[in-house]
Symmetry: C2
Subunit: 203 residues, 2 copies
Amino acid sequence: MYRPVILGTQPAERADATRNRLHLLATAREMLAEQGADRLTMDGLAERAGLGKGTVFRRFGTRAGIFQALLDDDEHNFQRQVLSGPPPLGPGATPLERLIAYGRARACFLIEHRDVARAALDGSQPIPIGGRTPMSQIHIRMLLGQVGLDGFDLDMLTVQLVAALDGPVLLYLSSDEFTDAVGELEQGMGRAWQKLVERVCRP
Amino acid sequence: MYRPVILGTQPAERADATRNRLHLLATAREMLAEQGADRLTMDGLAERAGLGKGTVFRRFGTRAGIFQALLDDDEHNFQRQVLSGPPPLGPGATPLERLIAYGRARACFLIEHRDVARAALDGSQPIPIGGRTPMSQIHIRMLLGQVGLDGFDLDMLTVQLVAALDGPVLLYLSSDEFTDAVGELEQGMGRAWQKLVERVCRP
DNA sequence: CACCTAAACGGACTTTACCCCGTTTCATCG
DNA sequence: CGATGAAACGGGGTAAAGTCCGTTTAGGTG
């Protein structure tokens, strides 16, 4: 029997699966808006969506998986801006300018979506820095390559910079105090990121 | 009724509490060595230690708290080295040299104690970077102050550097592959840290 | 030494993430 | 179409973290 196997293509999601996935995400957003992230339980979500618990877990694997899916969803816009939007975030500016712009934009993005971002962290799978968001990793790595630094282990430097970018944000996410003065915080982080990157990339 | 209130001094731990705390830590280390961190449950620990579950939770608050306590314990030696050991880790070298030495030493420390360090992370209380280990925070902040950098927000830079230091280690902790080649990894991280700090601090 | 209070103790109870597996539904192929 | 295998579904079951509150005990006071 002939079966056309296309490498790297997994079997394609079934129609009912897609429908349920989208419905669950929508329901999750509703509950998130109404009750906040920590009041969202898997049982509750399943019941409200009119589906079985097992279904929820098959779709998202884990509780954090739901929030990761929501975050991925939000991230699509952001990715478009980065990959094909106007400079300095998109192509057209110098690598250093894009690096600076990227850090600022990502900090803003995470702060805006802090509720979801925070809930997307998972203790039992502790890769908070760059493992779950390969986008930052890949993009920063590419830009660093274009900068043309000598004598650096660029992969390691990438991990360091991603961490330096996410670290302050995570620290912020973890304290429930700063609910005001968000704009100011974004500015501070942006400035700090710019300074750091300029120093590192200085010839 | 007169009560001598000494500010900043909490009521002092009761003798039985101390005894139980130490006994629990010792038992936890045994179980850790025998079964690994993820097979260590609160019920199991309580039973093996011959104590009630409530006691375990009063002492450590949370599961991660146990591992944090174990890590704190391990950290005492390290702290002594940093605060009063020989240069370049201890006092006597230039701030930049100490900064470099500190990063190397901390990376080695975390890698050595990776089992406990990993289990000490807590998803529901996500402050993985510098919040739970104010030691790095404080020490690096102090050294940066001594370096004499102009135009930096030193507090923010501290958070960035702590993250850049911990990030690669956390990333490493999360992948169960590299169980070999530990020495090599420590070297790579050490070199990368040195390069980063030298660049940032360069006049 | 008897008393008293605040802290510590124990373990049943609750909550919730996650697993399992018998049942149902989709999509493909003859 | 109808058959068929694979995938999805449902929801009861399990394990483990964390809470509660009635009971016990350490250690200071008169």
